[in-house]
């Protein structure tokens, strides 16, 4: 299929950037770009009315709704000016994920699925694991939300690679569940901001044992 290699490469790039960016605004911008990319993936794999519908849904959820919610949450928590730390361990993590993606992708997408599927599946696996890395390495609550959204984006690409997209009910359900989870996390971030006066996960330590 045309464009799959380019789309896969771009997906990996949009997945690496948020790990290395220290501030929320550019990260959210990259997340929206990645959403645009996923809409394109939906169209390339399903050039039919159903594919167009899915692409529109992806556009609404991943390019508009989720980035807007993250932008709003970050603004309300006055976290735009705060910088995350990017240590040598983060870089090592990225390298490890890229290697693991290479080594493990054939377990996710067997050879029988074809070369295009496997190149996108490998990119999707990398994007998913990098999303997990963002959650693991970030301290600010909005950044952890960003990590969750990135992980889900990676899985969306995996769905496209492995099965040319999901049945509409499942697709809608997953998108809706993610939106609800992020809305809930935004609500909780507001509560944390009121109760503690900051949104730093490392300093949330009421619970022990």
């Amino acid at each position: 299929m045309t464009w799959t290699t380019e789309l896969s490469d771009l997906l990996v790039v949009t997945a690496i950037l948020p790990v290395l960016l220290r501030r929320m605004l550019p990260s959210v911008f990259v997340l929206a770009l990645q959403g645009l990319l996923l809409a394109a993936v939906a169209l390339v794999f399903n050039p039919n009315p159903a594919g167009i519908l899915t692409a529109v849904l992806v556009l609404l959820a991943k390019v508009i709704a989720v980035p807007w919610l993250l932008h709003r949450t970050t603004g309300r928590a006055s976290a735009f000016s705060l910088a995350e730390q990017v240590t040598p361990w983060t870089y090592l993590g990225v390298v490890g994920v890229l290697l693991a993606g290479r080594l493990l992708s054939h377990h996710i997408a067997p050879a029988a699925f074809g070369a295009t599927a496997s190149s996108l599946a490998s990119a999707a696996l990398v994007a998913t694991m990098l999303g997990l890395l963002v959650v693991a390495t970030r301290r600010l609550l909005p950044s952890q939300m960003l990590g969750l959204a990135l992980t889900e984006n990676g899985l969306y690409a995996a769905g496209a690679a492995l099965a040319h997209g999901l049945p509409l009910l499942l697709d809608l359900g997953v998108l809706l569940d993610l939106l609800l989870a992020l809305l809930l996390l935004a609500w909780l971030t507001g509560h944390v901001q009121t109760a503690w006066g900051h949104v730093d996960a490392d300093q949330l330590n009421e619970l022990r044992g």
Partner: protein, 467 residues
């Protein structure tokens, strides 16, 4: 099908009437009546609806029952919420949580089950955070982040199964029906299915509370309002475990005999062993109950993983009895918290003398949870233990030692808090109002504990002989 639609609609009647402003002074009574009606519909559905499989016939009435008891026991927390808006908010989200649990219990499809389980995370997290206190908000945050990530890992496994199906020509949601999966599993690539099963076990296992993925569990379960903790600990964990077990059974022909069973067995044993020391040093009564749930899920996973009719019957009975006992105990814990203003066990020595009703309920519940014969949890635990011994004597001894240590730990706490001091602690405020739900739950567990293992064993043995 009529009963199923009715069952999915009926719980919403409460919030609807609330929203229309019909229920005011008698808000709790209105919800109690609806809870009884939902349980009635669920029982009718279990008896007569062809849309339920045998497992559903066990789980749907159970979820309806414990959800209903939770509404009954919510009288205490509702009393504590001052404004009408807060009361409606609590009942709305409790209904949503209950509904999502019913959806998972009804579902016979991996995709729908996944959506339902993710929905339970969201609906219950709102309830965990509802008090707005620092610890509660922190617990809810950890809960949502960890369980959502876990479920996304499980989603990758689900996508792989779906992808294999799609390449075999079945690109429809119905291809993920457990029965269809089982019928077609032989045609799927074994290696890929195994990787998918590992991802599903780890992902759903986060939600079940398997060690070492359980770290969110004691926090979330101890910070939620006590009746909600009962529903979280007693029902949600086992439902996630059942979904995992159903998936593993459906894919067994592809993954090879015993692959999924061994995963369940390994995580189960690890959970029991890891939970034991935490149970022995825990002073906070709600955290104690939460760690006991980690142990209980481990025990049930062991039973399901062994796979023999006896052990599976024990595990399924354990699911039902644990749901009743654990929710009953959480209701009691809620009352204790309200009465004494503390969850720490040393703060209420002499409970039996100060509050005989709560004292006896705690005593009986804890000893049941410890597996003391002839209390109702003993037969099912014995079935699981016998099953494990006949599989491997070494593992059997490991489990027996852990269960023995837990027994001593729980019994010690009961003695320390119930009979300890000669001068009983003073109650800080009027006793709570959840104990009636606990009485109902604990007394229902008695006949079930002794009848259910036998009934399940007979029907499972018949199934096995029929094959």
């Amino acid at each position: 099908m009529t009963y199923i639609w009715l069952l999915l609609a009926a719980p919403w009647l409460g919030p609807l009437l609330d929203g229309l402003g019909v229920l005011r002074q008698e808000r709790w009574w209105g919800h109690a009546v609806i809870a009884v009606a939902v349980f009635g519909i669920a029982t009718l559905a279990a008896v007569s609806s062809p849309a339920l499989d045998p497992l559903g016939r066990l789980l749907v009435p159970l979820v309806a029952l414990v959800g209903g008891l939770t509404l009954l026991a919510s009288r205490g927390p509702l009393h504590g919420l001052k404004s009408e808006r807060q009361q409606r908010f609590y009942l709305l989200w409790l209904t949503a949580f209950w509904w999502s649990l019913l959806l998972v219990a009804l579902s016979r499809n991996l995709g729908i089950s996944w959506l339902g389980i993710e929905l339970t995370t969201i609906t219950s997290a709102v309830l965990v955070a509802i008090s707005g206190q620092r610890a509660a908000v922190e617990a809810a945050w950890k809960y949502v982040i960890l369980c959502s990530l876990g479920l996304l890992v499980a989603l990758l496994g689900l996508l792989m199964i779906y992808g294999l199906n799609a390449h075999a020509g079945d690109a429809a949601l119905s291809g993920l029906d457990f029965r269809t999966l089982h019928a077609h599993a032989r045609a799927l690539l074994p290696g890929t299915v195994r990787v998918a099963l590992i991802l599903l076990t780890v992902g759903l296992g986060t939600k079940v509370g398997f060690a070492p993925l359980h770290t969110w569990l004691p926090d979330a379960h101890s910070e939620a309002p006590a009746p909600v903790s009962g529903l979280l600990s007693g029902v949600l964990l086992s439902l996630a475990l059942v979904v995992l077990w159903r998936t593993e059974l459906a894919l067994a022909p592809a993954a090879g005999p015993g692959f999924g069973n061994d995963l369940l067995l390994a995580f189960g044993l690890l959970s029991v062993v890891v939970a034991t020391p935490f149970l022995l040093v825990q002073l906070d009564i709600k955290r104690l109950l939460a760690y006991s749930s980690v142990e209980q899920m481990g025990l049930i996973a062991i039973g399901l993983g062994i796979g023999s009719p006896l052990a599976v019957a024990g595990a399924l009975a354990q699911i039902a009895i644990h749901a009743l006992i654990k929710s009953g105990l959480f209701f009691v814990a809620g009352d204790i918290l309200q009465t004494f203003g503390s969850k720490k066990l040393p703060r209420f020595p002499g409970l039996l003398a100060a509050q005989p009703r709560l004292g006896w309920l705690l005593l009986l519940g804890m000893l049941t949870l410890a597996g003391l014969p002839p209390l109702p949890m003993f037969p099912s635990e014995l079935a699981i233990l016998i099953g494990l011994f006949s599989k491997s004597a070494l593992l059997g001894w490991v489990l027996l030692l852990a269960l023995g240590a837990i027994f001593v730990g729980l019994a010690h706490y009961v003695v320390a808090s119930g009979l300890g001091a000669k001068r009983p602690v003073r109650a800080r405020s009027a006793p709570g109002r959840s104990w009636s739900g606990a009485v109902l739950a604990l007394s229902l567990a008695v006949p079930l504990g002794w009848l259910l293992p036998t009934i399940l064993y007979r029907s499972l043995a018949l199934l096995a002989a029929g094959r």
